[in-house]
Amino acid sequence: MVTNTELKTLIEKIVLEMAGESKAPEEKASKSEHAGSTNQAVSEEVLPDISEILIKKELLVPDPADEEGYLDMKDKTPARLGVWRSGARYMTSSALRFKADHAAAQDAVFSYVSEDFVKDNNLFPVATVCQDKDEYVTRPDLGRQFSDEVKEKIKAHCGSPKVQIVVGDGLSSASIEANLENTLPAIKQGLKLHGIDATNDLFIKHCRVPAMDVIGELTGADVVCLLVGERPGLVTAESMSAYIAYKPTVDMPEARRTVISNIHEGGTPPVEAGAHIAELIKKMIDKKASGLDLNKV
């Protein structure tokens, strides 16, 4: 049995397929809307992903004085140029793209690294004393402290390693999920070449950079390497940093950290960064120094 609705759908389908030849497809479509059956006029097609448009290549100025020159200028910067306007306001497409990029940045900050991800990468999960994301972003002092119970867990899990690798969500959980699976194996492989085994890696939820200093004191490791999410911008929400220090201690000067920032596909590629980090760790062990001191020796 063919019901009325099915019949209608069938007819509409045929009408839509004929639209190429027919002269009044729009009229038909609007009629069917008035008949209250809009859901049946929904196309199977999917709109393209606006986040995949390369901003550098997209010139929205309709009739530029020098198109080639404009595209050359755009090629030199990730800034949103040549976006044009309606009146003095933005075009809808550039305004939506801005909103999309901001949404990605906010989600990167306020979301969590998934528990499965932590498990799959053999990370031992712990957390600072922050209760939630809200407290995390407003209280940088708490994002570096652990409860006594957690401290005991860390000690029991890590033992006394030569190199302790720590992963922290920081201000971009997205950056950890995007880069860690490339960077972490590269670091371990690099260290192995020097006969150094780094195992028992930690994952810290609600982590600020100085949390690594506490880990340094708890484990007595020669070198602590923290891979942590950077505060996202609109160009990328997936940038990760590595903070590495030789025997870090609580309240040590910031100048004792060596930082590799901008680790993401569009910056320092994650595998390359991993290899570089391994070399730095080896150098720190050899020179017994990190940060500015490493350049001096």
Partner: protein, 455 residues
């Protein structure tokens, strides 16, 4: 001096003026983190009641950080006009508020009064003002300054063009400059934050900005926002600088963390007047922002609003051409969300003007703050109503180097059209000549096409 009041039958006893000042603040996450904010909404109001009844003399005699301990306090106290101060010292803070808002007090009257105010008084009266009070009072005070052109004249709204680039690529920087000019931005300053803060890089940037300015004969000023000492060395080695920039703080300790002192800023100004490229006499550019002192542990238990006012008290000694608060850059640990950023933006603008500064605002936010572009559009509209001298603009509001969002080039033109405000006169004439705006001040058909400048 009374530090106690009863409210809803409950007695509130405060220990010091600093405690009253901190607790009288509208809520800010930075004051909460510092452990000095009011513990309840009622305590906040009680503190405001006590503050309203303190006299200006009480505030003069109890600076936030003692005179002996702090250079900023000394600079503020020593630069006061004692005659004017003597004539107003018996006013209470509430009388000062009402005096500023009174129809019979002109903008010039307020400018005169402000010569007798310390930064603590400026902060105190701000704590008694609502947002619309801040807009109304701010709008009353015009402060002009002259570098190559005059900023701050009534009926004008200017913009800093901020062409930052993540790797200082010079062609990329110029591209962002041309885009901004095509929308009418850049009359306050074309100001670049370099990634590479070394001397050679800073010199190169000064030369490149000057080259663009000369090539198109743009009536504006240039600035490279490196550390003051690097800019000074660049100038000594022949770099063309209209302005010398520096971030400043509201305590000596905060300034030490920035690597500066009053003496150094004085030297910088002398150098800019002697060897700079601008007409002057206003050749300094300062940036500030609530929370900077707390972030460098230089707050002395003083609230962030009062410290911000002290930045202005310090800065005015050096007669700057531009001062702006970078209001939402510091993050949610100091200003939690858009409500706090909007409040702080209005406070900072008013306090700057009441301190006699040609005040602008970088209306901005970071991605870990609960704010978005809509909030910035609200704040910028309010500030334009309040008569702000200038706002910061970047391409589409996205600073690709500092990774935060400010206003876009489009916003400055929109606000000018909406509120019938104009750019600085010489710059406006230049925009007409370049066919970017028409006689009514609207964008021409081709405005927004940066490649206009390539042909």
């Amino acid at each position: 001096m009374i530090l106690s009041t009863v409210l809803f039958g409950r007695t509130y006893q405060f220990k010091s003026i600093n405690e009253v000042m901190a607790k009288a603040n509208e809520e800010k996450s930075g004051d909460v983190m510092a452990g000095i904010a009011a513990e309840s909404a009622e305590e906040r109001v009680a503190a405001k009641v006590v503050l309203a009844n303190l006299t200006l003399e009480d505030l003069r005699n109890n600076p936030a950080i003692p005179y002996e301990q702090d250079e900023v306090t000394r600079i503020i106290q020593d630069s006061l006009n004692e005659k004017i101060y003597d004539s107003i010292k018996r006013w209470t803070v509430q009388e000062l508020r009402e005096k500023i808002l009174d129809y019979n007090t002109t903008g010039n009257d307020v400018r005169r009064i402000s010569r007798g105010l310390t930064s603590e008084m400026v902060a105190a009266v701000t704590k008694l003002m609502s947002n619309l009070d801040l807009i109304t009072a701010g709008n009353k005070i015009n402060v002009t300054a002259h570098c190559n052109t005059t900023i701050g004249l009534e009926g004008t709204l200017s913009a800093r063009l901020q062409p930052n680039h993540p790797s200082d690529n010079e062609d990329g920087i110029v591209a962002s400059i041309l885009e901004g000019l095509a929308y009418g931005s850049g009359d306050a300053v074309i100001g670049l934050n370099p990634v590479d803060d070394t001397l050679e890089s800073v010199k190169r940037m000064f030369h490149r900005l000057e080259e663009v300015k000369n090539k198109y004969a743009i009536p504006t000023q240039n600035s490279v926002l490196a550390h003051v000492t690097t800019q000074m060395q660049a100038i000594r080695e022949g770099a063309p600088a209209d302005l010398i920039f520096q971030s400043i703080a509201g305590s000596e300790k905060g300034n030490t963390a920035f690597g500066i002192s009053g003496e150094l800023i004085g030297e910088a100004r002398e150098l800019a007047l002697r060897e700079g490229t601008a007409a002057g006499p206003n050749v300094m550019y300062f940036e500030t922002g609530q929370g900077a002192e707390l972030s460098s542990n230089a707050h002395h238990g003083v609230d962030q609003l009062t410290l911000e006012a002290r930045c202005y008290g310090f800065g005015k000694t050096y007669e700057p051409f531009l001062v702006n608060t970078v209001v939402g850059f510091i993050g949610p640990e100091y200003l939690y969300d858009s409500k706090q950023v909007i409040r702080a933006g209005l406070e900072d603008h008013f306090m700057g003007k009441l301190s006699g500064l040609p005040m602008g605002v970088d209306v901005c936010y970071t991605n870990h703050m609960k704010a978005d572009q809509d909030d910035m559009e609200i704040l910028s509209t309010l500030l334009a109503q309040a008569g702000v001298n200038f706002l910061i603009t970047a391409p589409h509001g996205d600073d690709v180097m500092l990774n935060y969002q400010s206003l876009g080039y489009h916003e400055i033109q929109t606000l000018r059209e909406l509120l019938q405000l104009k750019p600085i006169k010489e710059f406006e004439e230049w925009l007409r000549k370049m066919d970017v705006i028409d006689l009514s001040g609207r964008l021409t058909k081709q405005a927004g096409d940066a490649s206009l400048f390539l042909v």
